[in-house]
Point group: none
Chain length 176, copies 2
DNA sequence: GGAATGTTCCCCACTTTTCCCCACTCGCTT
DNA sequence: AAGCGAGTGGGGAAAAGTGGGGAACATTCC
């Protein structure tokens, strides 16, 4: 296994295996979940396991934004830049595209981890996701999701048909 | 990461990563929202996050104009010059193009930030956008939008189908 | 022409927020 | 048991947002 230096801790803790190849090159690959707390200053610690999956190019920074569901998304800086370039190609003389870009960018903000590996979550996003003292942090491939545990549980009965959904998504016959 | 000097604060606060490549080269990348106040002199502060995203070429200046919606647009000077060049290429023997160019240029004005990072908004634009004491400032990629919060809220029910619009726009299936 | 009035622009000052750093606790490993 | 990594809490310096004074310039009125 290869290791690279994590600039936050200045240690060789970045495992290259924890990344996957994609169209653009290499992207991070977050996985797992953890229940952490939000402190009085609105800070949330990023689980060490996910910090270690960050590529050095991300510079310990994330773009934080809202999800389509009632949760917060964290994209590593390098990954977000690719998405933004895609958004910038939309034709903003079309009213629908204009409104879409406005909504995406309006919720987005840049945030950098402090020396303890924490990020500050903007107040409007805390409100949007309905966060209180405890949060559920989930690693989902190229992004990290932050949920209020209650909100997640409430919408997680959808996962009851998890196998059925999988069948629909992969119905073109291509197995992963 | 590269840093350049922000001439406003005379500090190395301008992150070069905070710009994205586009057809023309590099453009600024504004994001986030903030609710600020308009003071008695008609001045509005530009959020520090967005000031730091300005390229030195913009020279702390904006071209201010009206949007397609009922809001005010701020383009960094360097970005505006590219747009103006684009507009100048339109065929002004077409009456529709003539009218479009006239309307755009009629509302446009130049404004430069003061030492505190504030701009003065022309009275006709304040009237057009219906601004009073509080404004909503939104970073939208290559431009900054200034809204009356009430006006924005009134037209923001479009955001209800934000996920649906996203599915339509990115119908190739790639989730954002 | 000159004084009065108003506007623009630059600077200084105050308050609040943000960000960086230090410190503590708790498991787990050595 | 000691040491280290990980999660949590908080203090203080610096930056950001806000308000306002006053000089320089323009405009209007007598």
């Amino acid at each position: 296994m290869l290791w690279a230096m994590n600039p936050l801790t200045r240690r060789m803790r970045y495992p290259v295996r924890d990344s996957i190849r994609c169209f653009f090159g290499i992207m991070a690959s977050f996985k797992g979940q953890a229940e952490y707390s939000v402190d009085s200053k609105g800070r949330i610690a990023i689980p060490a396991r996910m910090r270690n999956a960050l590529r050095p190019e991300a510079n310990n920074s994330f773009t934080i934004t809202r999800g389509f569901e009632q949760c917060i998304l964290l994209f590593p800086m390098d990954e977000w830049e690719r998405r933004e370039a895609e958004i910038a190609r939309l034709n903003t003389y079309r009213s629908e595209a204009r409104s879409f870009v406005r909504t995406i960018m309006r919720w987005a903000d840049e945030t950098k981890m402090d020396g303890q590996g924490r990020i500050v979550v903007p107040k409007n996003l805390i409100e949007f996701a309905g966060l209180d003292s405890a949060v559920l942090i989930i690693g989902v491939l190229d992004r990290i999701e932050i949920w209020n545990p209650k909100t997640f549980a409430a919408q997680a009965e959808q996962e009851a048909d998890y196998p059925a959904v999988a069948e629909r998504i992969f119905e073109m016959g291509r197995d992963l």
